[in-house]
């Protein structure tokens, strides 16, 4: 019970902090002081108080987009274990539901973008759906490898199976798998090198351009949903990358939270040292990630 409460609190409260850490890391690389760590929380709080502007072209789909996406992501948050603690909901095949809930969110985000009749948002929607259908098989290859290693088909036992002895035995495969997952993490959350959330040129953006017309509380939902998605895919990554268990439940929570913050720093570093890829290079990198995870499967089969 106490674990479930911890899980819910952490998953609801922590995601915007990752954005703050990423921002601070990028500022440090650029030699700036940067916004405070808690800046995303202030932003979201301010957005909740604002009114909204609705485009004349839109229908109820436009408001349903952020709402359904956030609802699907919130349910997905109950399926991922955080660190060594089991997820509140776990059943055979939950990893497929996990992947498909993100797809449901994507369906509604992109239809909401098309609802505005803006050519830029249509462009962003076309890119989003095309890139993610290349990212999805990578995730499934990674899940097949994990299923083979752990012998189970549920996220909690699958991820908790990855311990130090397993790393000793199949380290090479797990490193390839992590590399593939990291690429998926960056692509699905529209981070550099796939997409630049800070650019001011609508033509080059993917996720940000789809949400150009959202404002006020709805935009807050979009931002929070995006942060939560980053957090969940990040948790998947950190669970495999940090195979340590201290034995003490509270220490495990701290280890996990520290791992998530480290991941945020890593994303910040990647965003600082890399430039955005040209759009036609993006599929190549995604296919490379797919092949990496396919190799990780080959290595565990042998």
């Amino acid at each position: 019970m106490i674990d479930t409460i911890f899980h819910v609190v952490l998953v609801l409260a922590m995601p915007p902090l990752l954005l703050g850490v990423i921002g601070k890391t990028k500022a440090a690389f650029a030699g700036r002081v940067g916004a405070p760590f808690l800046q995303p929380y202030y932003d979201m709080g301010r957005l909740m108080k604002k009114g909204i502007v609705l485009s004349d072209s839109t229908t109820w789909i436009f408001s349903a987009g952020p709402v359904v996406t956030l609802a699907a992501t919130l349910f997905a948050a109950l399926l991922v274990p955080l660190g060594k603690h089991p997820a509140p909901i776990s059943f055979e095949g939950d990893m497929i539901l996990f992947a498909y809930l993100f797809a449901l969110g994507r369906f509604f985000t992109t239809t909401a973008a098309l609802d505005t009749a803006s050519s830029f948002e249509g462009m962003g929607a076309a890119r989003e759906v095309s890139f993610s259908c290349l990212a999805e098989p990578t995730l499934f290859f990674a899940l097949i490898t994990l299923t083979r290693l752990s012998g189970t088909m549920s996220l909690t036992p699958m991820l908790q199976h990855v311990t130090l002895p397993v790393w000793m035995g199949t380290g090479a495969s797990l490193i390839l798998l992590l590399a593939g997952l990291f690429v998926v993490l960056l692509a699905e959350n529209c981070r550099i090198p796939f997409d630049d959330p800070n650019t001011h040129l609508e033509l080059t953006m993917i996720h940000e351009v789809m949400v150009l017309d959202h404002s006020g509380p709805y935009f807050c939902c979009v931002l929070y949903g995006a942060a939560l998605k980053l957090y969940l895919l990040g948790a998947l990554f950190v669970n495999i990358a940090l195979p340590f268990a201290s034995g003490n439940a509270y220490v495990d929570w701290v280890v996990f939270a520290a791992g998530m913050l480290l991941l945020a720093v890593a994303i910040g570093v990647v965003e600082s040292v890399m430039a955005r890829l040209r759009l036609i290079r993006v599929p190549q990198l995604l296919v490379a990630a797919l092949i990496l995870t396919a190799f990780s499967l080959v290595l565990v089969v042998r």
């Binding site: 009114g51 909204i52 485009s55 839109t58 992109t110 249509g122």
Partner: protein, 658 residues
Amino acid sequence: MLFFDMMRDPASLVLCAIALAGCSGLPGLVLRDGTLGQRLASVAALASSLLALPSLLYLLLGGGEASFLLNWNLPFGPCQVALDPLSLFFLIPIFLVFPAGSLYALGYWPAASHSSQRSVTFFYGLLACAMALVVVSRNGALFMMAWETMALSGYFLLVAEHREGEVRGAGTVYLVASHLGGAALLVLFASLFMITGGFGFPAAGSLAVGAGLAATLFWLALAGFGSKAGLMPLHLWLPSAHANAPSHVSALLSGVMLKIGVYGILRVISFFPERPLWWGGVLTGAGLASAVLGICVASAQKDIKRLLAYSSIENLGIICAGIGMFLLGQGSGNDRLAFLGLAGALFHVLNHVVFKPLLFFCAGSVMHAAGTRDLDRMGGLARRLPFTAFFTLCGAVAICGLPPFNGFASEMLLYLGFFGEARAGQPFVALGAPVLALVGGVAVISFVKLYGIAFLGEPRTAEAAGAHEAAGTMLAPIALLACLALTGGLFPQLFLALVQPAIRGLAPDLAPAAVLPIAPVWFAVAGGSVICMAAILFLFLRAKTSGGAASAPTWGCGYLCPSPRIQYTGSSFGAFFSSLSGPLIRTRISVGQVAGLTPAAVRLSYHPEETLLHRVVLPVLSVAGTVCAFVRRLQHGEVQIYILYIFVTLMLLLLWVH
């Protein structure tokens, strides 16, 4: 007394319903008032469904079977007609979609504005009746007669608007493909006659023949039934046929007739006691290839019904892959894989029967309203057709296999089957999971495009701007199917209850393994929570912003006079993915030359191509036509000479036999 006894027997009720469906269009042929005839036909269709569906469910759930013997003195022997679980299962789609389509036709193809209404109504009933006869017949000759009636009534329905050249072309391709498939089946049943000595179907698992002969029969069945089911590369007839038929006909063709091909494959497989492992490999491979290619080509289409037709190829591919998994599982003694494959396949059959007619009906309403099939000329219909828009959204989410709708539940079973194989020594079968994930991803592209471009944004033409909501008789069947799609997604156990008897019928030894690895309650929990959370958030945000919502034009990035024509079109939405998938999807883009300092208006047009049909099959056929031109002299249209041909052929056959 006899009559009442018969009425108490559900099996005879089903046969009565089949006959009633076949006769539903007859009054319309003789009545002078076309509208009355059409209404009578719809009433007959609803009545046949009310007779059949409860009896079917009673027999299927109660484990009842029935068989009737027609002892006539025709040369091919007594005709057996039987209702076993497999037949009962495949009768459900017919009696679900047929009445829905008849009801829909009242508003969509009214007698007042369509002169072809009489023939369409008549052949609609005949098609349903012929399909039902195909499913219940247990005699090769009767089967072929029903099959031929089905193919021909499909043809007459398809060419309802035969004054358009495109429709006639589609009809000819359909007729040729259908008869090539029929020829394979003729050889199949002739071979069965040689083996068993009669036209009656061999009992399940009783056909013990050598490996070579079994392989021949398998390939014949795959060619004949696979072409009806639209498996690639035998799908050539399917896209243009489904695009050019009236929408309620497309719904019946796509929702039900393709499944008859699946039924045929399953029926032939059930004859054999031993099913080699490679059959499963062939079916899984062909199914997954059809699924990927079908949906990739669908994503490039700009014709709303052609997009749906290609997505049928994808869905039938998924079903076929499930059957392949069943055979692989049986061949390797892996009951778990066999059960999940077959359950997933049959469950997906039911799901496709629900959401594909739903989408074809919606496409019909859209065409009715906007006057075109071209997605690039629609837009903004969600404001004008709010109910159709809502139900299309349900159908689109369901067909992408997304929770909380039914497509997710059946794909989940297939995923579980694939993932289970990851633990096997050689996890080749597990590679199906990423392929299915890719298919799901591309399906999202196709259906976001279909929904977003047709219904959202601003209308691109004046016709789209003046569109109106469909009539109540058109919306009612759509709403029913949408409810079924949601029910199947939240409570898959209801659909699985129908699937279980069919599995027991096909593979009695699977019973001990027939437990789902996932408790069905999780579908209700996941779907229900997502729906509830979304509803609460929606109401909360609506209340929070109720006072301060300002209205303004869409942000045009500083451009002040946007027009609907600058919106992203269906072609441009799909073009990005087609550019990635290269040779899989061929599109032809023709652009005029832009010349001079003040260029004149230039046209750009975008056409997705049917590579196989236009680059390979039609050129080969035209060469064959030139080479065999002399044979055409036999074909001159003089009936008395044709009768002479028949007589001479019979004489030669008699001489050959003696």
